[in-house]
């Protein structure tokens, strides 16, 4: 005889009588494979040539196609719209052969003209991911050679080309031209999809959810998903509960505390993998006391890296300016670790031998780990008789602040997530002087470093590139523009019935879902 205790009775009988239909979704989704992802981030813009941010990037990877995709660890270029490609010896010309099976959502085939149109539009608008190709391609650089061949002529060699192509999505030229308006189709593509991806847009409720429907007769091979929902869940405790109840399959924005809380949740798998996202404390090298290189070195030696690591959750300390695991990373170079004798030695050589100054430090408001790392800076600099004025700031104020060295704080806390798996991304965005005034590199400028970065991005021989990145790292470490901090593990969680997932350290939270299946 079936026996129920009071709790089971309440859970079963009364629930069914009261609100049974409102209960966990998998019951209601029987017969259809609908993947639900929970994220804190909205998707404000559907235009792959103007939008930025990880949530739009996720949308584009699943509703549009690039010529080349990126998968696996280490990130490897694999066929997208292009089934094969060839590179000229001088590294200036790339030829792509399109997959004849590729077709847009309206059933028309993807042609070389669509590819050329998309690149021209991207470079014309100069928004979204266009910066990755700045100075490399212009509006005329990509041309169609017949229906199925694309020829890309670079203005100068660009070694990471295949690494940036996964973020250049191809639109249906005919559809965009039919809805061009006065803004090059921006108004249209802001809320419409004109792609060839595995999914098309379903219902949209801004700020709440975005539903993707599998395209009928989808040309992509893989996965059994019929649909997917990008559900915005702002409170991580809610996301944890939803994951435990099976109401969502993947929770993307998890903190270390969340991962600890769900470690024993049945049917939930935790993903904690190293990726290229790094945290550094940048120093204002263009204004104020930290223009003094000796003072920067004193700070670099005074900082308590071990305390930083211990307060970070699952993470590892950075070893120089490039993320570990990335091509060209020189793990054998000496880096700064806490050594108060050396710190005092460099302080004595600086313009502030007795200390006695106060340095300002920003951290992102509401980000607990950044606050902790700022407090560690406060403690670390006390032996040098240096005070730290810690300021929590919201992001818009930060963006405004870094426009000028005069308004930028002495220390500036920042996470950097490379968009492509090549050292050029970190090196160029975070250390090239052309990026001054941007949050990735507010103030640091060194002509010698600029020259090495430019040489490395144009070098096509891997060994020569590696040597250039080694000298880049030597120069930057010697300049000490940053306190090289930690690389937190990428953290998210999924139900154990999600099959076919393969981690990729590049933009790990913008995963392609079409190869996934629900078991």
């Amino acid at each position: 005889m079936l026996k129920l205790n009071k709790r089971q009775f309440l859970q079963g009988g009364l629930a069914a009588a009261a609100f049974g239909g409102a209960l966990p979704m998998p019951v209601r989704a029987a017969g259809r494979n609908i993947l639900v992802l929970a994220s804190t981030v909205d998707i404000p813009n559907f235009d792959p040539h103007t939008a930025t941010g990880y949530a739009p990037q996720w949308l584009f990877r699943n509703t549009y196609d690039p010529l080349v995709r990126v998968v696996g660890t280490p990130p490897t270029p694999t066929p997208g719209l292009a089934k094969s490609w060839a590179q000229s010896e001088d590294g200036l010309t790339y030829t792509f052969e399109l997959d004849p099976a590729a077709k847009f959502h309206d059933g028309t085939p993807v042609t070389a003209r669509d590819v050329a149109y998309s690149f021209a539009r991207l470079l014309r608008l100069k928004q979204g991911p266009a910066w990755m190709l700045s100075g490399i391609l212009d509006e005329e650089s990509v041309a169609a050679d017949g229906e199925g061949t694309v020829v890309m002529t670079l203005r100068k060699p660009f070694a990471p080309l295949l690494s940036v192509l996964p973020w250049m999505f191809v639109v249906n030229a005919a559809e965009v031209e039919a809805n061009l308006g006065s803004d090059d189709g921006q108004s249209y593509l802001m809320s419409n999809i004109a792609g060839s991806g595995a999914f098309k847009m379903g219902r949209v409720l801004p700020g709440d959810r975005y539903e993707l429907m599998r395209v009928e007769d989808d040309w992509h091979q893989g996965g059994n998903l019929d649909a997917a929902i990008w559900k915005i869940v702002r409170e991580s405790s809610t996301a944890r509960l939803m994951l435990g109840r099976g109401e969502i399959h993947i929770a993307l924005d998890m903190f270390a505390e969340d991962m600890e809380a769900i470690k024993d949740t049945p049917n939930v798998v935790r993903i904690m993998e190293p990726d290229y996202r790094s945290f550094t404390i940048k120093m204002n090298t263009a204004h104020g006391p930290l223009m003094d290189k000796n003072l920067r070195k004193a700070v670099s030696y005074a900082y308590n890296y071990q305390a930083m690591l211990e307060s970070s959750g699952p993470a590892e300390l950075m070893h120089g300016p490039l993320p570990q695991g990335m091509f060209g990373h020189a793990g054998d170079l000496p880096v700064y670790r806490q050594d108060l004798d050396k710190a005092k030695e460099y302080l004595a050589q600086s313009a502030y031998p007795e200390g006695g100054l106060t340095l300002s430090m920003h951290h992102a408001s509401g980000y607990e780990n950044q606050r902790r790392w700022a407090l560690i800076m406060l403690e670390s600099l006390k032996p040098l008789n240096i005070e730290v004025d810690i300021r929590a700031m919201v992001w818009p104020d930060v963006v405004a602040m870094v426009k000028s060295p005069e308004t930028t704080t002495d220390f500036f806390s920042i996470f950097q997530s490379p968009n492509y798996g090549d050292p050029d991304n970190t090196a160029f965005a975070a250390y090239h002087s052309s990026r001054n005034g941007q949050w990735q590199n507010p103030t640091y400028a060194n002509p010698e470093v600029d020259a090495v970065i430019e040489a490395a991005r144009s070098e096509v021989d891997p060994e020569a590139r590696k040597a250039l990145y080694r000298s880049f790292q030597e120069l930057v470490i010697d300049d000490a523009p940053d306190v090289f901090g930690v690389m937190e593990l990428r953290k998210f969680a999924m139900r154990d019935n999600v099959e076919g997932y393969e981690f990729c350290p590049v933009s790990a939270n913008t995963m392609e879902i079409w190869p996934l299946s629900l078991g």
């Binding site: 629930a15 239909g21 209601r28 928004q127 409720l205 809610t238 509960l241 426009k403």
Partner: protein, 335 residues
């Protein structure tokens, strides 16, 4: 009364104008660069300037305000810098969700608070009085988001009676849009399953929102009723042999309601302005979340739009409250 009504409505215009000016100037004077932020981390200065011109931010402040004001009366409340969606359209999307939540919370607070206030006044210092006093103290003291989390743990995670979050099941079609209130739309379209689902989703956030006003209304009603019960005319009515029930519901209730009515009116704006935490915990896609997102990114126009809407609702509510005074207290004269 009609003249009073017209005069009060006419007074709303300069008040809203003043408010819009104040909001506009304050929003523009705040430090920050929403356009730079919206343009992305790698936007060129030229692109940022182009976007600034596109949103009219390169014009003088008076000219920007004039453009905003003329647009306002034509139903153009500006555009979000981030999403480029029209603010008015967004408000019409999110406002019904918030209003439904606020109205449900108020209904719970009024339906439970007034009778409980009356009862505890009549049976003061009894068991019910002590119990409700304890609950009231807890209701006022406990933060809404914390109560929301407790409710989620109890009724969703542990008992499994109610859905955890959201306004409707993720995989399911809400009732056909008429008013944007899912419960009302379900009734209008005869979708009883939809109504049940909408109510199930509404239950926890509405209760979490209602506890504080419920407690206040209950305590206010109790105090007012005790005060009225001690009036000479009540003694006279008792001496005349009128039944306690008649005295309580016909004479005492009306007089005790006046101050409670003011509290209810004030709670409308309090609830409207304070939904954000409950909306965050329950993923309720309403105005609070919309406003928070806009504030964090300093997206001026949505912030101004939300504030204007809340101000309008507050002013209209207070006008209704003033008019209702006359219904409950015939001594009130509108002149």
């Amino acid at each position: 009364m009609l003249f009073y009504f017209i005069r009060r409505v006419a007074m709303l215009v300069p008040m809203l104008l003043g408010l819009s000016l104040l909001l506009f100037v304050v929003a523009r004077l705040l430090p920050g660069d929403p356009v730079g932020l919206a343009a992305g981390p790698n936007a060129t200065p030229e692109l940022i300037e182009r976007l600034r011109a596109e949103f009219g931010l390169d014009q003088s402040l008076p000219m920007q305000y004039w453009t905003y004001l003329t647009g306002l009366v034509q139903g153009d409340w500006g555009q979000s810098v981030f999403t480029r969606r029209p603010v008015f359209e967004d408000l019409m999307t999110y406002l019904p969700a918030t209003l439904e939540l606020v109205i449900a919370a108020l209904v719970i607070a009024i339906v439970l608070g007034i009778p409980l206030g009356l009862l505890t006044a009549v049976y003061r210092n009894g068991v019910l009085d002590y119990v409700t006093r304890t609950v009231a103290l807890g209701g006022i003291a406990m933060p809404r988001f914390f109560l929301g989390l407790l409710l989620q743990l109890g009724f969703a995670a542990w008992l499994g009676w109610l859905p955890l979050a959201g306004r409707f099941p993720l995989i399911g079609f809400p009732p056909e849009h008429v008013t944007g209130f899912y419960t009302v739309d379900a009734v209008l379209s005869g979708d009883w399953e939809g109504l049940r689902l909408a109510l199930a989703h509404l239950a926890m956030p509405a209760f979490a929102m209602s506890l504080s006003p419920l407690a206040t209304i209950m305590r206010m009603m109790r105090a007012s009723t005790i005060e009225v019960l001690q009036q000479d005319y009540v003694l006279t009515e008792r001496a005349l042999g009128l039944s306690s029930r008649l005295i309580l519901f016909k004479y005492v209730l009306k007089n005790a309601m006046t101050s409670t009515l003011t509290i209810i009116g004030l709670y409308v704006s309090w609830l409207l302005g304070g939904t954000v935490l409950v909306e965050t915990v329950f993923d309720w896609p309403g105005l609070g979340l919309y406003a928070t997102q806009a504030i964090l990114t300093q997206d001026f126009m949505p912030v101004i739009g939300v504030t204007m809407v809340i101000a309008m609702i507050y002013l209209v509510t207070m006008l209704l409250v003033d008019l209702l005074y006359g219904v409950f207290n015939p001594k009130v004269r509108y002149s």
